[in-house]
Amino acid sequence: MTKTTLLGTAALVLLGFGGIASAADPIRIGVVTPLSGTYAPIGQQVRWGLELATKEVNAAGGILGRQVELLFEDEEANPAVATQKAEKLFQVNKVDFLTGTVNSGSTLAVGQLAERNGRLIATTVSFSDAITTDKCSPNVFRVNARAGQQSAALAEWLAKDKPKAKVYYLGPDYEMGRSTVAAFKQAAEKTGAQSTGEVFAPLGSKDYSQYFGQLRAARPSVLYTSTAGNDTVRLLTQMSEYGLLRNLTIVGASGTVTAQNIGAIGKAADGFVTGVGYSAELATPENKAFVAAFRKAYDTAPDLYGADSYGLIGFFKAAVEKAGSTDTDPLRKAMEGLSWSTPQGTKTMRAGDHQAIQDMYAVRIAADGGGNRFDVVGTVPGDAAIGPDQCTRF
């Protein structure tokens, strides 16, 4: 027997064990999320949110009397890997439902796979509008807010707090970065803001000081940025270095400043405003309980990814209980139009495009050295923020 065959059989056996060893009859939810690579911090929050919710649900008796089991796989933020792992979860581990994808490419690809396997998936992170508009799928649900909703909340706050402001735009030069800037620009101009220029820096730029000259020349009072992760850290700290933060209000996309990078940004994040679907500072009793439990379990505050992922389990539970089973068609019907409670209040899943409707918030960061807070400074009700149903596929 050649080494190849031996190894091949060994691999098969190992892989097979994953599927055979399932006992009682738990409800299995597959989670394909980046656990390594640049998006690992997001995957981390997703994991924590899901695990916390699952623990609570299981402690309260599970769903329809069955315990919930989460199976994690690392998608490395690569759609090719995501589909491979998702297929494994669908076919070998026979999961009833799947979630966890972070970047839109992965969500779209896994969504297609879900259609071919007759299963449903949900995303709690991907905010690209396309997922519930022109590339919508009957097997894909989105529990988090999409880019359009985020822009709406922020534009509303901007119009109220800084009417007719001069806005400069700085974004990472790739499709998502550009479209986020374009979407917000459109929303802001509608409410009276003036655009004084824009610049797009390559993704992963280390030094933004080369753009400061243009920025200064435009003399804006507001800067909108759609950078994320490390790019935001560099942008904001370098702006602080050059003294540009003194007379400038920075606003940005919801992924720009999160729990992952706020520690590194430090004081430079103070005063940053964004439109987002969640803040750890929301004063509802459900949120207070959720934040306390999250902090106790993981020693850090939840961010929007953790909260939305936590809320997903609530969504799934409510849907399964309404449908009475985990079979795809009844489950899908139960999910469409479903309202359920989350730490952020009640969300409703719009049947036409599988997009969750929720109240959106303008959130300002307070990073004055006494700990970081995401204070809510404005609210836009769900129906106003949601935008029209542009999904024509179903």
Partner: protein, 297 residues
């Protein structure tokens, strides 16, 4: 005329000065790389990860209370034995093969992969940033430049000068150059060639680590930070001439100026392809770069 002066003062000059601080950073990275290639004929694909390691070490030590100035000395010192061991245990094994270039490239590529994942394992994937040790800024000729950047430029240039002095004006440097030029001859003249190899690699690695410490306050620290510089550093080394210190310095400063100034006129996303295009051009027209090799120049 007044418009031109305005333009020079408020647009071109600040841009050039910014390019200078970036240039010094790039040169420091490229310096270690070119020395390692020039002497050892080794392509160190893990150079970016050593840079990251230096930054993370600085973070850990700073957490233990070590001050920034002490870090500038301590971190390179700590990285020297690490570099030495990597050379002795890993590089030396493939060194005597005919496919040395490719094997060391592959080996250091694998090493880089492992180091990056290890850093993530130990420090977690989140971004961290040490405090800026020199706050504030200065007005120079109507331009505002942060003090830390001025320090960076000054310290960087001093460091480059120091390296040059060591390599070209000391006995140690003479041994290194001799071993690069002809290792058998140098060996028969009493130069401890194997130790010189290990030491040079360690020195290059320490330089990378020092760059990490210097740049951490402005570029922040995260496990994949090594990839930031690697393409630019290799480009500088190639354009300047593999193994040439003055080539690395001149090419480094020049290329970063090109990048900084070009971003005023063309979309910044083209600056990487532009730099790459320059590299290809140089390789096609003058493959040994501007200044050739250490020891051979």
């Amino acid at each position: 005329m007044a418009d031109l002066i305005d333009y020079l003062q408020f647009v071109l000059a600040p841009q050039a000065l910014n390019g200078l601080s970036l240039g010094v950073a790039v040169v420091l990275m490229a310096l270690g790389l070119t020395i390692i290639f020039g002497l050892l004929d080794v392509i160190n694909m893990a150079h970016g990860e050593f840079y990251a390691m230096g930054a993370f070490l600085a973070l850990t030590l700073a957490g233990l209370g070590v001050g920034f100035w002490a870090l500038l000395v301590l971190v390179p010192l700590l990285m020297l034995p690490i570099g030495w061991l990597v050379e002795r245990w890993l590089i030396a094994r493939v060194f005597h093969s005919r496919d040395r270039h490719i094997l060391t490239l592959l080996l250091t590529f694998g090493l880089g992969m492992i180091m990056e994942d290890l850093l993530k394992l130990v420090y977690g994937p989140n971004t961290q940033r040490p405090e800026n040790p020199i706050e504030g800024g200065t007005e120079i000729l109507g331009m505002f430049l942060p003090n830390y950047r001025l320090f960076l430029i000054g310290f960087g240039l001093a460091l480059i000068a120091a390296v040059w002095v060591v390599v070209f004006r000391t006995g140690l440097g003479a041994m290194v150059r001799a071993a690069a030029f002809d290792k058998d001859m140098a060996s028969s003249l009493g130069v401890p060639v194997r130790r010189v190899y290990a030491g040079t690699f360690a020195f290059g690695v320490a330089l990378a680590g020092l760059s990490g410490v210097l740049l951490a306050p402005i570029y922040s620290v995260f496990p994949t930070m090594g990839r930031d510089f690697i393409l630019m550093a290799f480009t500088v080394v190639i354009v300047g001439g593999m193994g040439s210190i003055q080539g690395a310095v001149i090419a480094g400063l020049l290329l970063t100026q090109v990048q900084a100034l070009s971003s005023l006129y063309i979309s910044p996303v083209w600056s990487d392809p532009l730099v790459f295009g320059i590299m290809v051009l140089v390789l096609m027209v003058r493959p040994q770069g501007l200044f050739g090799r250490l020891g051979h120049a």
